[in-house]
Each structure stands twice: as C-alpha cells, then as structure tokens.
Subunit: 247 residues, 2 copies
C-alpha cells in the first residue's frame, strides 16, 4: 500500500511516551542531583538514572513478562529499584519514606522534548492523539498536566494488565478507541515497540530521538526497518502526515 493511501485511513495516533514524548534522562538526572544536595549524599547520578531505567523499569517489566513478578504499575517497579539503588549508597530509605516517595514521582514530572507540546497540538487537530505507554494512568495524567501535553485520551498498559510489547496492549487500545488496527498508527522512538504494533496491524511512525540515552550515547543510525514514516521530531511528523500548522 502506498504511503498516501495508508495515511488516508489513519484516525488515531498512539504515542509511546518515555523517550518518545519526554526526555526522561535529563529530568531524572536533574532531580537526582537536587535530591543529592538536599540530602547531602553523593553518587554518579547519570549512572544512577540509567540503572533506575534499565535495571529497574525495563528489567522489572521483563520479570513481569517472564512471570517472576506479578503485574504491577511503573510506579511500583520504579519504587522497588529506587530503594535498592539508594540503599547501595547507604541512604536510609526507611527513615525517609516521604522523600523517597516524592523522588519516585519524578517520572510524573518529566520534561517534554522541545517539539513535543506544539507538535502534539498540531497533530491533535487532525487525529485523535492518545498515549500508549507502559507508564501507569496516574503517572501519565500527572505528567500531562505538569508538562502541558494535551492528549485526547490516556491509554496505558495498566488497563490491559500487561506491558508492551505484549500484543494485547495494542489490540486493547484499538478496541477502546473503537478503531480497527489499521486505522491507528503508533508513534515511537523504539524499534521493538513499533515492530510489535506493526505485527497487530497498526501503522508505524519512527521518531528519531538520538540523545535519549545522553549526548555521549547517541543512537548512531536510523532504523533500516519497514516503518511507514520516519520523522526527526513531531513537527516533521506533522509535515509528513500533511497536517497544517496550528494558528
């Protein structure tokens, strides 16, 4: 099918959020540094952030997928790993329950990439725009309010009780939106997410976020995979999807 005819049937855009819409790493490192100076503790906060993300969140989701952990929210997975990481640097998490709980919600306060807010607004003028994230509903709701990201609806793995890339997540999103899979396009900066969405019949838009893992860990190349659209950012995606600028 040509790009033009594929585009004609798309009614909703579902967005991956962490890394695609928001720059989790910069926000988390900044807030960890602040926490460190408030609590008078030192650590390599960049490494702390990366381990929190990869071992805690992504590793936690793998344990859930393998059946070693019951399904739980991103908040719970984050809290589990945050406790481990803070205890490694000899911070007493039991005596500082409120501070740890507040720090854990940094994932509710992530800053968008510079193009995200306006790009979403532009895309929202032509499509239903929805989250489709492994983050939980309250995390995504608070983040949207905090960062002024305007979604038409917030969908999450929490509703399905299974994390992406489980195909049920994508199918359930289509069901809740009232569309066939081929009327929806996933927008994401991650190939595995897009491949899973493609496998259930979604359109796919890869957005290039080269500094998601930091300026020193740039993703070197664009994907050599059969996605429908490849965009540099949300404003470029809007151009590719022929959506005029919003006044």
């Amino acid at each position: 099918m040509s790009e033009a005819s594929k585009l004609g049937q798309i009614k909703a855009l579902c967005f991956d959020v962490f890394g695609t819409v928001v720059d989790w790493r910069t926000t988390v490192i900044n807030e960890l540094q602040l926490f460190g100076s408030e609590q008078a503790i030192n650590a390599d906060w960049s490494e702390f952030a990366d381990r929190w993300r990869t071992e805690g969140y992504m590793g936690g989701m793998r344990l859930v997928q393998q059946g070693s952990l019951p399904f739980q929210t991103a908040d719970a997975l984050h809290h589990r790993m945050l406790t481990i990481l803070l205890e490694e640097i000899e911070f007493d998490t039991k005596k500082n329950i409120a501070a740890v709980k507040h720090l854990n919600t940094v994932w509710h306060r992530l800053q968008p990439w510079p193009d995200s807010v306006l790009g979403l607004e532009r895309l929202r003028s032509h499509f239903i725009v929805s989250t489709l994230s492994n983050g939980n509903i309250s995390l995504l709701t608070n983040m949207a309010k905090y960062s002024n990201l305007r979604w038409d609806v917030i969908l999450s793995a929490e509703i399905t009780g299974a994390f992406k890339p489980n195909p049920e997540c994508y199918r359930n999103a289509a069901n809740l939106l009232g569309f066939d899979a081929n009327e929806i396009m996933l927008v994401a900066a991650h190939e595995s997410d897009l491949l899973a969405a493609q496998a259930v019949g979604f359109g796919t838009a890869y957005v290039f976020r080269p500094t998601e893992y930091g300026i020193d860990n740039k993703k070197a190349i664009r994907p050599d995979l059969p996605f429908d659209f490849i965009a540099n950012d949300f404003s470029h995606l809007a151009e590719l999807l022929a959506v005029p600028k919003v006044d």
Copy 2:
C-alpha cells in the same frame, strides 16, 4: 468534618457525564428529527429519545447488573435498543446499516450544558478533572473532542467491566488516579450515583440540572441528602470550591 477541611484534601474531581456535563436529550432529539426528515419517516422523537435512554441504556445496564446480559459498552446497549425502536416504526435497519450505525454515535456528539466547557476549564486549574461515566472510552473521547471538553484523563466503567453504581467503578477510579477515596469528589446530577460514591468514601457535589428530562419534566426539588456541595452549575461549583476564574 467541616466543608473547608473536606475541601482541603480533594485533589481530583470525577464527573458523571450524561445529564451532568452534556444535555443528551436535546442533542438526541435534534439528530433524530434530522434522521427522520432524511429518511422520510415520522415518529414522536421526544418519546423515542426517552425510551432509547431509559429502556435501552438504563434498562440495558440493569440487565447487565442482574447477569441477564454480559457486560458490554454503552455503544452496544444503544445499538441494541435503537434497532428495536427503529423496527417498531418499520424502518429497515438491515438495509440501512451505515445510517443506523451513524445515528447510534449521536451519543458521541452530545452538546454540553452552556456552563460546562468554561466551568470545567476553571475547575481544571485547581483539580485533576476526570470523567467517571458508564459511557465507553471511545464515546467519551469523541465527545470531548467534538464538544471541546478538556479532561485530564478519561475514566469509564468500560475499564472496570462493571457499571456505576457498582462500588468497584469508584474504587478502580481512585486506584487509577493514585488517590485515596477521600481525595476525590464525584460531581453528578444524580442522587444514586452520588450515594454510591459517598459509600466508598468520595466527596460529593450535586449539580442541579433541572431540565435533563425536558422543560416539561423539570426535577422539582433539590435533594434533601447529605452531599458536601450543592451547585446550580459548574461555575457555581467553582465558586463553592474557591477556584478563581480563568483569564
């Protein structure tokens, strides 16, 4: 507990939608009249609308609650009754599948009460504002987009798989929003909904919508029940909740 201290702990407002936020009856009657003239059929469209609502939707939900029907979306319950009502007036629903399907989505295009859009915007500046409706997610999403109702998040009985006033609906909303029940207030024009929310610990705000069932069927009196707030409309509710006007 005093009103002031009760108010201090409220973080989110959950809104009933049909009748509370939108004037379903006026919109549905108008669209039925249009459908009638397009299809050259006649009926008492006011009575048709009332039966669609009371026998089809509310009656259908009762059947689900009694276990006579499996849980299904509001769209499905509406479609079931619309087919019955159209066949009663000898309209061939099998020959007009697309027209019937479009008419069934009139519930996605309901017009807000005059104060709803601005009142919600004002309340949203101080609280998380959410739907908590028996309407399905796509219905509520399309309605919000169509009528410019800005929600922070769309919650529905569809996520729980049980209709209000089942207590699980309210508990699940609290869980998804990440708040305790006493941090949430239900806003509704219907006493039974508010009583069920109150029973699980929500705060309650009754909004007076006297013409929900038409100008000739005005609800005569305000409820003599122990709700936390009683408001004439959303702008009055914002005043009672001490939320300043939005610029």
